[in-house]
């Protein structure tokens, strides 16, 4: 099973038994989402902002306007890190300190560079859009050259990464187990609801299969 190298950057410090460096595990976490948190240094502090991403093999594509402060700063710094997390449940223990959450997260480290070739830029944007909803890109009108020129596309090559997963029940002190205090898990799920068609659609344009598939897959 292929794994990422453990370095001082990605080695999980706390809760190491929940950590994984398995490339496939990291990819599954990335592929179940499309928004990650990217940090960048600005005026001496690290600012953390959400960005849409697309993954293809060991590459993460990001995009933004040509003036995007975060992307421009990161392209200059080259080194980049991104975290993706899915919250799966609240872990409610008998004591405050054993409260926790169930989750799956991945933190990636790598180098970011600007994509300049038009075909490569288009590939990167397709990757980001299809990460949001598989099959979306081929249903859209083709992207225009001037749109490509007005968009900043960047690719991060993942150099190393770690995953962290908590998916077990409540842990409490043995001495607390007989207390008459309710403990348990409240599962949390992110769900898609009924699509709302744009009121300006021409008559006869129905909800396409790729949208139905997405909603079905992400409903209760």
């Amino acid at each position: 099973m292929a794994t990422y190298p453990k370095t001082s950057l990605n080695k999980v410090q706390r809760g190491a038994k929940r950590a994984s460096y398995d490339i496939e595990t990291v990819n599954q976490i990335l592929d179940a989402d499309f928004m990650g948190y990217v940090g960048y240094a600005y005026k001496g502090r690290a600012i953390s902002l959400p960005m849409a991403y697309g993954r293809e093999n060991n590459k993460i594509y990001l995009h933004g306007s040509l003036k995007n402060r975060m992307l421009l700063t990161l392209l200059e710094a080259e080194d980049i890190s991104m975290t993706v997390m899915h919250l799966n449940g609240l872990v409610l223990a008998r004591s405050g300190l054993h409260h926790s959450v169930n989750y799956r997260s991945a933190t990636l480290f790598g180098k970011l560079k600007k994509v300049t070739d038009s075909l490569e830029k288009e590939k990167g944007l397709k990757c980001v859009i299809d990460q949001m909803i598989p099959g979306r890109w081929e249903n859209l009108r083709p992207i225009l050259e001037k749109e490509l020129n007005g968009t900043l596309v960047a690719e991060m090559v993942i150099e190393t990464a770690s995953a962290k997963i908590r998916d077990v029940g409540v842990h409490d002190e043995k001495s607390d187990m007989e207390l008459p205090i309710w403990a348990g898990i409240v599962p949390i799920k992110q769900l898609a609801e009924t699509p709302q068609s744009d009121p300006y659609l021409p008559e006869g344009v129905a909800i396409p299969e790729h949208i139905d598939n997405y909603v079905n897959k992400n409903s209760k």
Copy 2:
């Protein structure tokens, strides 16, 4: 209406019409969640990690183990920034570049300091637990002195902040409006599901009111 000062740190650069500096708007976004993304600088790069928080007035409480690398680094740096975002929908346009998401986000900037007084630490931890589920803390067994001593509690005083909200329909180019391409919104919601009681609960311990309230409030 009280607002945060606009500085070079928090002034929203892109999509300024979606920005708000209103304190009440920022607080509403913070109070609808309990996990934020905090950035910290490590070996020259900004790492972004999720942390549970609690808000009280203009203060954000964070906690972790005494060896928490992120908190210790941030306490040394003092300056801290945190972002909270709720994803509310996928905005699916007729062209790739007009794809977007509906969301509510808040980015905070402030100073972080260690809480050392035991009563203040307890107040901070109560704030974090009750942010997750209101009313939880008073249902737990009291925290022990040795647990308090083994926990790092930090408070961030919010100096400035910004909110960003997108909650409108699809925007497309006028020239694309007649295309036979489906466009619309897929609403996204984070929901709580049926609580799973810990199998080791003593007989007769029922799901308490504060859990029922939480699940009802966060269900369909």
